[in-house]
Symmetry: C2
Subunit: 315 residues, 2 copies
């Protein structure tokens, strides 16, 4: 029986194994992903981003409690940019694993990039597809920070949640960092802290100043204290409202299209680059190329054009 | 006279124009970049990353003051992930522009991605190369957040500075986010605030727990109050020490090699993808492809393989 079939039969260990293979870029993982794809498209994908220390994991945990009470199965992908030196593991994740370890309705996978080329986004898409095929009703994709990859990852979700927290210093700074316009819902967590009102005022100001959204949605702001659970139910209800608004306006269909396109482009990019790198390595030409670059005998632009001309048919 | 020649003659407006063209992916920018590349390789590239509100821009400003007093010319690339909706501009940058507007030795360029595919890293590399060719002695690349792209960008610098700040909440969280191992130097800014000692303790703990660096460098921690300038001179001196240690051990040469390779791969990736996207758009096949994906008649993996087989010669 193929791994994909075992996964569709509910074999959790087969799913974990495939996810590891995806991480390690084992070629056979592509075959499993192809086999699973027809079973995808059912899950509702929610993206959550917030700076380190904003209580993101706690919010996710409490949301999962509510989803589980409603009988929904949940997949969590925790994306954490890792070090280029160690490819290290993620501490907080294991703690959480244990909390949900006895609940078969929750599947958690943490993701840390190893490679260089678009690894994070591609792997995230692949893993979301596996969880989708596994039949998870809801998939939560959690990212740290506000980097471009994180923005991309959250942007391919159907509902994007941005978490802010008082005490980050100059709030204008926090707000300028490109997060305002990716948020469908905003959360001010640790709202009992000093400065919560100011964060809210600044956020409202920024939302009002920003360009009106094409889809007409006005992002609500939720105030939470995740540790006590305060405000989480309202947040989950807010997700439902956003989903319904999008369904009503066919926005959700457009988002599903965009997601399929983004996945395709990610796969194309990583496969093409793998091909080029394999070629360069097989020919043993890295050293000479880098020497030529260092001595300024060539430049990266001409070198790229040369290889493209050599490799592409219709160029 | 070509734009590249005008830039080499010290024409600031030509440099700004080329950087705009790089942002907009105007094809002629490639020719200018090729022409400029032989003049690169002199600048010392410093990467600086820190969360929003950590006082990063102020630290950069004060560092620039010191470099200028030493008679060094400076280029600043401020990388800010921007919104996928607006492609917006950056406020804080204009304020800074004015402060240095009368100083010809300082050139500031802010960078915000527009596109989808590896835009940020590629553009940053290109702009650093332009500034290098312009003859800037020092190039400071400043990024927000700790996303994967930011890590990559900072990692291609010769000296990477990571800024922390008290009051970010759970400090373990801040420290796990992949930043420990990319920092050659650490800064705890706003060190007069409550919690600075705890941040320092946690950071020292994390550094001691972490894997020993291959290059043997032990990252120092600087405590600063950027607004008053406290600790900045020590930081600048720390950069010099790091540079000297790397020169001594040939690490700098290895880093220069890695940088050349990374630039080449970025260029290759964005040019190859531009080729594929152009092909798909010219053939008007997006709509059919997305339909097939949505109806699960195909999957992103098979689709990517099909196009690669069609387009690549030696596949």
């Amino acid at each position: 029986m193929t791994i994909a079939k075992r996964i569709l039969d509910g074999d959790i260990r087969a799913a974990s194994r495939l996810m590891r293979d995806i991480d390690d870029r084992i070629p056979s993982a592509m075959d499993s992903l192809k086999e699973l794809y027809p079973k995808t498209g059912r899950a509702y994908i929610i993206g959550i981003t917030g700076p380190p220390g904003s209580g993101k994991s706690t919010i996710v945990d409490k949301m999962v409690d509510i989803f589980r009470q409603e009988g929904k199965s949940v997949g969590i992908v925790a994306v954490d940019p890792t070090s280029p030196f160690s490819g290290g593991a993620i501490l907080g994740d294991r703690v959480r694993m244990q909390r949900h370890a006895t609940d078969e309705g929750v599947f958690i996978r943490s993701l840390a990039t190893r490679g260089c080329l678009g690894g994070l986004t591609r792997s995230t898409q692949d893993i979301v597809n596996v969880m989708d095929a596994m039949g998870k009703d809801i998939i939560l994709v959690e990212t740290v920070g506000v980097g471009q990859d994180e923005v991309d990852i959250v942007h391919t979700a159907y509902t994007s949640i941005v978490i802010l927290v008082p005490g980050l210093g100059d709030d204008i700074q926090a707000i300028k960092a490109g997060i305002i316009e990716i948020g469908d819902l905003f959360v001010i967590n640790k709202c009992d802290r000093d400065g919560a009102d100011k964060v809210e005022r600044d956020l409202r100001g920024a939302l009002e100043m920003g360009r009106k959204r094409e889809d007409g949605w006005e992002p609500p702001i939720f105030k939470t204290e995740a540790i006590s659970g305060k405000g989480i139910f309202e947040l989950v209800y807010g997700i439902l409202r956003h989903k319904q608004a999008m369904e009503h306006d066919s926005v959700l269909e457009r988002k599903r299209n965009e997601r399929a396109k983004a996945t395709f482009l990610e796969v194309l990019e990583s496969e093409v680059m793998a091909h080029f790198i394999e070629k360069i390595e097989k020919e043993g030409s890295w050293k000479g190329m880098i020497n030529d670059l260092m001595n300024r005998r060539t430049d990266p632009y001409s070198l790229a054009e040369k290889i493209i001309a050599e490799e592409l048919k219709n160029h």
